[in-house]
Amino acid sequence: MNVVRLIVMVVLQAVLLEAVSPFGEWTQPQWALWALFMLPPQSERFTKLGFGFLLGLGLDLMMGTYGHHMVAGTVLGGVLPGLHQLLSPREGYEVTQKPTLRDLGLQWVLALSFLGSLLFHLALMVVDTWHAHLMLGAVMPALTSAIWTTCCCLLLHLLVVPPGRKTKG
């Protein structure tokens, strides 16, 4: 299921959803990140790292940006286990818990989506600009884009797995 979700989101972003950017470079959405955020927090950290790498690879292949999304995806995949641990409830994740609004709540979903998106966009900004003197000017667009991506992920949560609907195991 996770693999299918990843493929679908990568294709959708590359073909269709990339254009959903009301304020140009200030709101560059990364819809495919939602597929990564939907990985269960209890899953193996190698799985998360591999998914991050594959997400970047898929985006690069589809969008012709060789290496840019791979770097950002790998960074996010490598840090995602740490983020899950950072946001884990005091008693830890239950085996049946899914990373949805219903199971882990709005605050958890928002925090994970924003921190993950911010990390991804910052990594993408670094490899896009490359020059230190240009990075300062690219930080703000990266931040606003991360907020926009968080909004997009929240929208997908509401559309695909709304709080009232029970997720399938």
Partner: protein, 270 residues
Amino acid sequence: MRNLWLLLQRNAFLLTFLLLLAVSFGVLVRHDGSARSSWFRTTGGLAAGVEGQQQQWRDYLELAEKNAALAEQNAQLRSQLLSMERESGWRMDASSGWSVATGRLIKGPDGHSRSMALGIPGADAGLTMGMGVLSAGVALGTVVDVGERYTRILPLLNTAGTWSCRIGRTGNVVPLTWDGVDRDRFTLSDVPRYARAEPGDTVYTSGFDLLFPDGIPVGTVESSQLSSGANFKSVFLRPLVDMGTVRHIEYIRHAADSERTVLSQPLPSP
């Protein structure tokens, strides 16, 4: 080996992360010109810095060896110097008629207005009174007394001497004196007011005093002073040689010195 394997196992996630990151960067650098140039510039600068630091350390560590080599070379040179015989005899320039012999100053002018200098060799090397003395090709003085092994030299740095000079190669011939005060300043007196003397101009010997050939440099013009209404001005110059540090000198004499001296004497009154 087992410990290494355990270490790798313990850090497997980090190593995998770094490996995937390296692959990603590899793809990026391979396909993105900007990233590639930035990467090579960064790594090139880093490599140059590391290499420079290594070179510094290498130089520092090799100091002892270099020092020993230099000390050995120094000892060899000193040995050669001690075994060398002092060059003697006269070298003659056939075209101008001037001959040169080397010597050494064993007492230089001390800056007092009447101080003399003492040089070697003396009469035993064929030196006679009235010879010009140079240092590194610059006029230094003239031989006024000759002993068996030593010569007394009247340096330019003495108020008793007057030397015939000219400003530039073709300027007016004027006398040069020292005021006995500032050892870095000679004075050309009685310079016609129309004569050009710009700061930096070289002053040469004129050869008219028969002590030096024409065109031996003496100093460079520093300034000039013209009193109002006067027809002559004074020109001040800085000597080209530091009299306090001179050690090696050259004596010069003309092949027809005695003939020139006799013919330059005033005619006997009838």
